[in-house]
């Protein structure tokens, strides 16, 4: 399979009163055609800013992409003019935002929000766009689509709005969808409906997906490969099967251990990661996870480890003590 998106050494910062926030601090990752890749990590680690950087939607003047390349089908998105980028945004690359109500226009009908993009990006005639809009709503499982087109977003339930966002994302046949916490605001039974839908659409239409989430269960069920982020950097990457079976970074191991699981006997006590996530405007010189890490050695505080091979299938981890985790994880 060909590589669709290559992010190389991406750096995005924000100027704030407290100093420079290194939200994305030199990350590199890929998405292959038709593949589902997950980006996981805790709140504030730089997941949304990564996706916004790809769309070139990082808010200036505070926010700035300082360096790196974003190659989409071989073209560097960071080198495109704004009109060229506009043609890609919402068309070849679509984004599904976490909170659908903020990205839907409350005063436009559902139908108009779908047809607008089709008329602008694909030069469709109104009747043609209308027919495609009906088809799209049907595709995402909204019953009675003709009648629904005349309604407004506030007539839709949370789950229906989320499906509407997916319909809008699919409108111009994108080859990549960036889904930022697509189901976090939804109930578990609705979450299951939406994720099953996205997975079947991606399989059927061959759309690649980047799923941003902090839910390790969602990742296990839907992702082919996983990037784990901590404090603006990728600290581990592997296929989903490999990552869960053989985590090689203490943060990944800690995350997997800290959640109670329905498939395992109930433990008397949970095993949390002690301490607090770091402040991105005051990152330590060495490994950002070192202050919370039970595998820490002297070197960790002095020097940040780079991603290095840790297992089969492109498994990499950024940890000096990665080798010590092999036996630990098996125990």
């Amino acid at each position: 399979m060909a590589t669709l998106l290559e992010v190389r050494d991406l750096k995005t910062t924000f100027q704030t009163a407290a100093g420079v926030v290194r939200a994305v601090d030199g990350v590199s990752w890929d998405v292959e055609e038709g593949e589902t890749v997950a980006l996981v990590g805790e709140s504030g680690c730089g997941k949304s800013v990564s996706a916004l950087s790809i769309m070139r939607l990082v808010a200036p003047p505070a926010g700035r992409i300082e360096g790196g390349r974003i190659l989409f089908k071989g073209r560097d998105l960071l080198a495109l003019s704004e009109p060229e980028m506009n043609a890609i945004r919402g068309c070849e690359i679509a984004m599904v935002f976490q909170e659908p109500m903020t990205s839907l226009n409350p005063v436009l009908t559902i139908g108009r929000q779908l047809t607008e993009g089709l008329e602008i990006h694909l030069n469709m005639k109104p009747a043609q766009a209308q027919a495609r809009a009906v088809e799209l709503l049907g595709l995402v499982g909204i019953a009675d689509p003709e009648r629904r087109l005349a309604q407004y977003p506030h007539h839709f339930s949370g789950g229906m709005r989320q499906r509407m966002m997916i319909a809008m994302a699919l409108a111009c046949n994108p080859s990549l969808i960036l889904a930022d916490e697509p189901t976090t605001a939804l109930d578990v039974t609705i979450q299951a409906q939406i994720l099953e839908l996205m997975q079947s659409l991606s399989k059927r239409l061959g759309v690649a997906m980047l799923i941003i989430t902090h839910n390790l269960g969602v990742v296990a069920r839907y992702a082919d490969r996983v990037n784990v982020m901590y404090a603006g950097r990728i600290i581990e990457r592997a296929t989903a099967a490999e990552l869960y079976a053989n985590p090689r970074h203490p943060y990944t191991l800690g995350l997997l251990r800290s959640v109670p699981r329905l498939d395992e006997p109930r433990r008397a006590r949970l095993d949390p990661i002690e301490g607090q996530p770091p402040d991105l405007s005051r990152l330590p010189a060495g490994c950002a996870f070192a202050p919370r890490c039970s595998f820490r050695v002297a070197r960790c505080e002095a020097q940040a480890p780079a991603l290095a091979q840790a297992g089969p299938g492109g498994h990499v981890a950024a940890c000096w003590e990665s080798a010590r985790l092999v036996t630990k994880a098996a125990a």
């Binding site: 805790e42 709140s43 339930s157 949370g158 789950g159 229906m160 109930d187 578990v188 039974t189 609705i190 979450q191 299951a192 409906q193 099953e196 902090h214 839910n215 390790l216 269960g217 969602v218 990742v219 296990a220 069920r221 989903a240 099967a241 869960y244 079976a245 800690g254 995350l255 997997l256 800290s258 959640v259 109670p260 699981r261 329905l262 498939d263 109930r266 433990r267 006590r269 949970l270 095993d271 949390p272 990661i273 002690e274 607090q276 996530p277």
Partner: protein
């Protein structure tokens, strides 16, 4: 049912809720006429024994928070009895209620919005102790504040900080300390870890468990994360559209759920193991959660139920004790 449960329990009932109903009239109809009634809680019974944790799960809008608010008498129930430490508190005067309220505290989901941003942590903790006359002497109060901070894993110097100078997990610890300041017997925990990072959630859950065993606390633990609820609860009640549809001991509920909605909920929880997920059978429900403004006839779950029969749309299934201590409201259970 609450009587039968209480009889069988060895422990003493700290809280007994029976026939709880809370309806909200909503306006917005034509010419300002009420558009209808939201049946937020529609006939709920449960008992919580002293020292136990009852988990309350169910999807958004099913009435969990309203149930908790009625227990705390922050909301006056439309019908029903709430017996707390032997007294029916639904009919109490404001003055009598004040004394009872001290013994029941609440921890909210959003630790930030529930703390006064203009007060230091020390002031936030000292104020209720002073207002309720628990400790009159300022020096002793300060000692108590330090003790509370220590109990929730914070340091004495945190007393001088403002809420915005703390992390989410630290703020939630302050929320817990504030509840403990009143020396309650019951704490209603309304989604206490949902807003926290995964790596911090486990810290707070462990803290709640430690405090329970140390201080003999009783919890009504409201959450939508079924894995967390299984971990912390002794018994679990599952709500759907204002009603309890299943109530059982933790193990019975998770290992042998009797209500089709409970089964659907459990199968919707993705498990962090790709190998297992690849082969796991999923039960994806059709449709959306219906509105509490116009609940479906008969069993409220029947429009989404995979096994519904004719009877389900006609008759309301009562909550029945299908096995000892295992209750379900399903015609087919």
């Amino acid at each position: 049912m609450s009587e039968a449960l209480a009889e069988r329990s060895n422990g003493e009932a700290l809280l007994d809720v029976s026939g709880l109903v809370k309806h909200f009239a909503v306006g917005g109809g034509l010419f300002g006429a009420p558009a209808g009634v939201v049946r937020a809680v529609d006939g709920v019974d449960f008992t919580i024994r002293r020292g136990e944790t009852l988990g309350l799960v169910g999807e958004s809008g099913c009435g969990k928070t309203t149930t908790g608010r009625c227990v705390l008498q922050l909301e006056r129930p439309t019908h029903g009895r709430i017996v707390f430490e032997g007294t029916d508190i639904t009919g109490l005067s404001q003055q009598d209620l004040r004394k009872v309220r001290r013994r029941m505290q609440v921890i909210f989901q959003d630790p930030y919005s529930s703390l006064n941003p203009r007060m230091t942590v020390g002031e936030i903790l000292a104020e209720p102790i002073k207002v309720h006359g628990i400790i009159a002497d300022p020096a002793k109060r300060e000692l108590r504040v330090s003790e509370l901070l220590e109990q929730v894993g914070l340091l004495p110097q945190h007393a001088r900080r403002y809420p915005h100078q703390l992390s989410g997990g630290q703020r939630q610890r302050v929320g817990i300390a504030r509840a403990l300041a009143m020396e309650p017997s019951l704490i209603v925990c309304d989604e206490p870890v949902s807003a926290l990072d995964v790596s911090i959630q486990a810290q707070i859950i462990n803290l709640l468990e430690d405090l329970q065993s140390r201080l003999g606390l009783t919890y009504l633990f409201i959450a939508h994360d079924l894995s967390v609820v299984r971990h912390i609860s002794d018994r679990v009640a599952v709500m759907y559209l204002g009603k309890v549809v299943e109530l059982a001991d933790r193990n019975a509920l998770y290992e042998d759920p009797l209500h089709p909605y409970t089964r659907a909920l459990l199968s919707a929880v993705p498990i962090p193991d790709p190998k297992l997920e690849a082969t796991r059978e999923r039960m994806v429900l059709r449709g959306e959660v219906p509105s509490a403004l116009s609940p479906p006839s008969g069993c409220v779950f029947h429009p989404r139920c995979p096994i519904a029969v004719d009877r389900c749309s006609a008759a309301i299934p009562p909550l029945r004790e299908i096995r000892p201590s295992h209750w379900a409201a399903c015609h087919l259970a």
